[in-house]
């Protein structure tokens, strides 16, 4: 009896298709993952750190710890997404290379896009929001600490599920935009694109929860005297961003759900047969997708406002117009989505309307740029690394912005659409816009979180390598695009004449990557060697996060500050108010308890998602019951938290400042 092993099926999957085989790079990744897991598990066991991990990190509801976990995840994802970028640049560095075949290249640009936007930029910014917002509004935590932890674990669960596709089952390969009909079952019959539908859905739920959390936190937990118009700009941008999240993410929830229905259950939303409309996917995706890019850029704008004001030693210029402009940008961002598919055939009336709304967005953005410049005018500029990132942002983002206006014109877009011109445009907005801001924020807020600064000298290397490398990578792509080079193409012929600029671009990418390595080295070096000065206010800051110790005590503020004006901490310093702590001002502090439920939900969502990806429906349903169980357990949770005694607060406060005697 002959058994053909490749025909063996168990639970409807061919087992030789379960693990991705036949590719040395992937095999290397599989081995490294196993080794890494063994290393981590082994290390934790050897150093007896399981209990510590569980108590201090896995079950934490502390917004600062949650923020750190987001940022660590984002840095790791930055590495993976960056590797994808380097691989693409290597493949296209010379004509007709066969380093990566077309299928592999497709998987790589897909994961590059998904990871950089959803698993790098989003968690990086949400992590920063988590750490800083309660501090800036003078609160002890967010409105829903346990929900906050759930948001992180759902993000992590979705990210892990997406990342595992590389070695189990195969990565999605239809682009980060996953257009139909390519993304449908008929043209992508494997399970790779199931990962897309399900992993992103899980993470998306976490993000929606974050949006709700921060809206309520900002509306209801501001300290005494902090009216809306006295909030710092990073808090304002977080507030508006959170509203955008609540408005946009449910659209993606539906779109991904319908994709799952088509791929797994044979429905006809986006199929070519049965009356489906493939363009409907593009419409729904971009209804979410355009607000999504504003969700990542607005917090970045908030970071720039903080950094530029602090290092110009001057109040932010035009506070009110800054708020109006971010409200305007957010409002308009919901009305421009069709500009991503002018060429799909909606016709001149639709295209004209959306051209106009798209071009309008440049106006409030321009107002912000002028406000930043006016903030610097006649200020005392300090060229710290954080400030340098903010200064580099302005001219580089400008290039992204004006090429955006070029693309906004629908008729012209028929030439630029899906060429490398488009790719260069969005990298010139995303990298100087979001990535530079993230770097600035890391240098700016690092001492607050860890009690020591990142090294400024290594920071210079990070800066120059990255900025020069970035421009070298993406500037040539404008010209390649105008010459006719298309996106998502794994190779090109020598006759096109594209080769020289592709090579320049590839070299630029290596330089940019070395900038990222410099950042990683900076973090390593500073953790090991930087002096632990534990300065509460290393930069002579203006906002409330600088009014408490560095690192921040788990309860944030011993005494909730009272705000008298905008730039609350600057006011406190100028008038010598509220800077001292008197013993009789210390009260018992009520803090929320840790919880194992969020990490349980992350695990159970991962398992359910995994089963769904492989279309093992019964198992998925059972795991889904695990989700319901978690919800029920949460419903019955009446834990009211715990109290921190006055003595403990006094002891912690005494470690960084004198606690004055009672004032009778």
């Amino acid at each position: 009896m002959d058994i053909n092993i490749t025909e063996v099926r168990l639970m409807n999957i061919k087992w030789d298709e379960f693990f991705v085989t036949g590719d040395p790079l992937i095999l290397g990744a599989q081995i490294s993952i196993v080794l890494a897991i063994v290393g981590i598990v082994g290390g934790l066991t050897y150093f007896k750190k399981w209990k510590w991990l569980w108590k201090e990190w896995l079950t934490t509801v502390d917004h600062k710890r949650i923020g750190i976990m987001y940022i660590i995840s984002a840095v790791l994802m930055f590495f993976r997404g960056g590797m994808d970028g380097l691989l693409m640049k290597a493949q296209t560095s010379r004509p007709e290379l066969n380093f990566l075949d077309a299928q592999h290249y497709n998987e790589i640009f897909t994961t590059h896009g998904v990871i950089m936007i959803l698993f790098m930029a989003m968690p990086m910014l949400i992590g920063l929001m988590n750490i800083i917002i309660p501090l800036q509004i003078g609160a002890r935590d967010v409105a829903y600490p346990q929900l906050n932890a759930l948001s992180f674990w759902l993000f992590f669960s979705g990210a892990m599920l997406f990342n595992i596709s590389f070695v189990i089952g195969g990565s999605p390969d239809a682009g980060w935009t996953s257009y139909f009909p390519l993304a449908g079952k008929e043209f992508s019959p494997g399970i790779g694109n199931n990962y897309y539908a399900i992993a992103l859905q899980i993470s998306g739920i976490g993000t929606l929860m974050t949006g709700i959390n921060f809206i309520v936190t900002i509306l209801k937990m501001r300290t005494k005297g902090m009216t809306l118009l006295r909030m710092p700009m990073f808090t304002w941008t977080t507030f508006i961003t959170s509203i955008l999240i609540v408005a946009a993410f449910p659209i993606f929830t539906v779109a991904l759900g319908l994709m799952m229905m088509d791929r797994l259950y044979g429905t006809h939303f986006f199929t070519l047969s049965g009356g489906g409309l493939d363009m409907l996917w593009a419409n729904l995706f971009w209804l979410w997708g355009h607000p999504e890019v504003y969700i990542v850029i607005l917090p970045a704008f908030g970071i720039y406002s903080e950094v530029i004001a602090t290092f110009s030693r001057k109040r932010l210029y035009g506070y009110n117009s800054m708020i109006l402009s971010i409200v305007g940008i957010a409002f308009l961002s919901m009305l421009v989505w069709v500009h991503h598919f002018y060429t799909m055939g909606s016709g001149p009336a639709v295209n004209s309307v959306f051209s106009i709304t798209t071009m309008l967005i440049a106006v409030p953005t321009g107002i912000k740029v002028f406000n930043w410049l006016f903030t610097m005018r006649k200020g005392k500029i300090r060229m710290t690394t954080a400030m340098m990132w903010s200064l580099a942002f302005i001219p580089n983002f400008l290039i992204g912005g004006v090429t955006g206006v070029m693309l906004a014109m629908a008729a012209a877009d028929y030439q630029y659409h899906n060429t490398l011109f488009l790719v260069a445009h969005f990298h010139y907005t995303l990298i100087p816009g979001v990535v530079f801001a993230v770097f600035a924020a890391l240098y700016y807020w690092w001492p607050k979180v860890f009690g020591f600064r990142l090294n400024e000298k290594i920071g210079r290397w990070h800066f120059w390598l990255f900025v020069i490398g970035f421009n070298m990578t993406f500037m040539p792509m404008f010209f390649l695009g105008l010459d006719g080079a298309v996106r998502r193409s794994y190779t090109y012929s020598a006759e096109t004449g594209f080769a020289p600029l592709f090579l320049v671009s590839a070299i630029g990418a290596v330089i940019m990557a070395s900038g990222f390595v410099a950042l990683c080295y900076n973090m390593y070096w500073s953790i090991r060697y930087a002096k632990r000065e534990n300065e509460a206010d290393p930069w002579n800051g203006r906002t409330l996060e600088w009014a408490t110790a560095s690192p921040v005590p788990f309860y944030n503020f011993a005494k909730l500050p009272e705000v008298k004006s905008l730039d609350a901490f600057w006011h406190m310093k100028k008038h010598n108010e509220g800077l001292e702590l008197h013993e009789d001002e210390i009260e018992e502090i009520h803090m929320p308890s840790n919880s194992g439920l969020p990490v349980y939900m992350g695990i159970v969502f991962f398992i359910a998602g995994f089963f769904l990806v492989f279309e093992w429906h019964v198992l998925a349903l059972i795991a889904g019951l695990g989700v319901l169980l978690g919800l029920a357990l949460r419903s019955f949770d009446y834990d009211e938290g715990y109290h921190v005694t006055k003595e403990e607060v006094k002891q912690i406060e005494s470690s960084w400042r004198t606690v004055k005697g009672g004032r009778n």
């Binding site: 509203i243 408005a247 409907l280 419409n283 209804l287 919901m334 055939g345 016709g347 639709v350």
Partner: protein, 99 residues
């Protein structure tokens, strides 16, 4: 925000009016052959919006609690709904691709 104790007149009124609006819409849609479908659709649409607003105020007490934030939130949600529904239909049915 003191609630008058006693008979829940708001709820009863809301319920009866909702029933009325429901059956009125059904009547207009199914029995009024004299009207064009265009008029019928706009009429039943308006009746739906009125009933929804009615229930929002009389059942859900949207003006209690953080009344401004809640009302702005619902209005913004409705605005988004209009953009999504009207926008999707307009974008998808314009041009030559929709058969």
């Amino acid at each position: 925000m003191t609630k008058k104790s006693g008979f829940p007149i708001g709820h009863v009124l809301g319920y009866l009016l909702s029933l009325l609006l429901t059956f009125a819409a059904a009547f207009v849609a199914l029995k009024m052959d004299s009207l064009t479908s265009h008029v019928i659709l706009w009429t039943i649409g308006a009746l739906a919006v009125i009933q929804a607003a009615l229930q929002l105020f009389m059942f859900m007490h949207v003006t209690e609690g953080e009344k401004h934030a809640q009302l702005i939130n619902i209005l913004y949600g409705v605005f988004m709904a209009a953009v999504i529904v009207a926008g999707t239909i307009w974008v998808m049915t314009s041009g030559m691709h929709y058969h």
